[in-house]
């Protein structure tokens, strides 16, 4: 893939200054650090792409850190799936249901169907309510 310059030409209009001019035995600072007024005619803020590049930062490295993330604040407790974590759920990695769970789910569905048939439960619509109210009124009269 060919990279395309999305920045405007004036970004490249920077005077060439040897880096050695701005160095000390202890620390090397970039041109922008030594001459911050260059920002006046180089509108970096608006033109440059989103980037990680710092002004020659001091670098550190560690193995890991603890961050107050949601994974630390929330714990998932599922007795059937003790291995399940919050990150699994957030990533959409749901555990497969066990044989027992599938069986229990089928039984629950059968029971629900039985109750529905027995009680003759129908969706409660405006027409049904009006009809029932009318029947009740006529019954009382």
């Amino acid at each position: 893939m060919i990279g395309s310059p999305l920045t405007l030409l004036e970004e490249f209009n920077i005077p060439t200054v040897p880096d050695s001019v701005f160095s000390s035995p202890y620390l090397t600072l970039g041109l922008q650090a030594w001459v911050p007024q260059l920002y006046q005619w180089r509108s970096v803020e608006w033109l440059a792409k989103t980037s990680l590049d710092g002004q020659q930062p001091i670098m550190f490295e560690i193995d890991n850190i603890e961050l107050p993330t949601a994974s630390r604040r929330w714990k998932v407790s599922s007795p059937e799936h003790p291995e399940l974590t919050f990150d699994d759920l957030r990533a959409g990695r749901w555990p497969k249901p066990s044989e027992e769970e599938i069986e229990a789910r089928n039984k629950a569905l059968q029971l629900a169907q039985y109750v529905r048939d027995k009680l003759d439960i129908r969706p409660l619509t405006t027409t049904t309510i009006v009809h029932q109210l009318r029947e009740e009124k006529e019954g009382r009269g």
């Binding site: 893939m1 060919i2 990279g3 395309s4 999305l6 620390l27 600072l29 650090a33 030594w34 911050p36 803020e45 608006w46 792409k49 989103t50 980037s51 990680l52 590049d53 710092g54 002004q55 020659q56 930062p57 001091i58 670098m59 550190f60 490295e61 560690i62 193995d63 890991n64 850190i65 961050l67 107050p68 993330t69 949601a70 994974s71 990150d87 957030r90 990533a91 959409g92």
Partner: protein
């Protein structure tokens, strides 16, 4: 497409006080501004290898890179946690630009030349210069409400792909379609709030995900 790297960058309209301690001390004790601006201290860069994360803070910007991005929720959560830690130490100045850049990759079954040809056929008119081209890159600037997005995509081979990532992903394809979405908001001076940053990070990634789906659908058509 698979999301492989995210950078969230806050560009400040005024320097972070942390990097100009002498000016701050002078102002605090003398009760007036220093007549001449001091050189800001060099920036700070922290690499957290196990988390495949890099944090950069300097006088003018605060940025975080995530090289492990299993899902949008993980990104948002970690970005917010890092910015909260920095903001607890030093109040972040108002913003001049807020950007979120994400890299997406989709493995191709075609070889590189075939993929270049397929991209050309989908995107460009068959003029002579286009027929002769060996490689291409496509870029657009799109608008999405207040935000803008610099979008660039094209075919890549493994060597070029590897050079795109700060933390090399465990498995990269030999040939792939690469998409770079730089979603950003330019502002004169905007105070940063947690809610605003969270909403921006989520909307930026959702926008990029939508664009990646559109791109794949375009390339697969016909």
């Amino acid at each position: 497409m698979k999301l492989l790297q995210v950078i969230v960058e806050l560009r400040h309209s005024a320097p972070l006080k942390l990097f100009s301690p002498y000016e701050e001390l002078y102002r605090s004790i003398a009760g007036k501004e220093l007549s001449e601006k001091q050189v800001p201290l060099p920036g700070f860069e922290l690499t957290i290898s196990e988390k495949r994360m890099r944090i950069v803070v300097d006088a003018r910007h605060t940025a975080i890179l995530l090289g492990d991005v299993p899902n949008i929720g993980y990104c948002t959560d970690n970005v917010m946690a890092v910015f909260k830690k920095i903001n607890d130490l030093v109040k972040l100045p108002s913003l001049s630009r807020l950007g979120e850049r994400s890299y997406w990759v989709e493995e191709s079954q075609l070889n590189f030349d075939e993929l270049v040809s397929a991209c050309k056929n989908k995107v460009y008119k068959p003029i002579d210069i286009m027929r002769e081209s060996m490689d291409i890159g496509v870029s657009f600037v799109l608008a999405s409400g207040e935000c803008r997005a610099n979008i660039a995509f094209g075919p890549m081979e493994l060597t070029q792909l590897e050079s795109m990532f700060v933390f090399k992903p465990p498995k990269l394809p030999k040939v792939a379609t690469f998409l770079d979405v730089d979603y950003y908001l330019k502002v004169e001076q905007k105070e940063i709030t947690e809610a605003m940053l969270r909403a921006f990070v989520i909307s930026g990634l959702n926008y990029a995900k939508e664009q990646s789906a559109k791109l794949m659908s375009l390339l697969k058509e016909g």
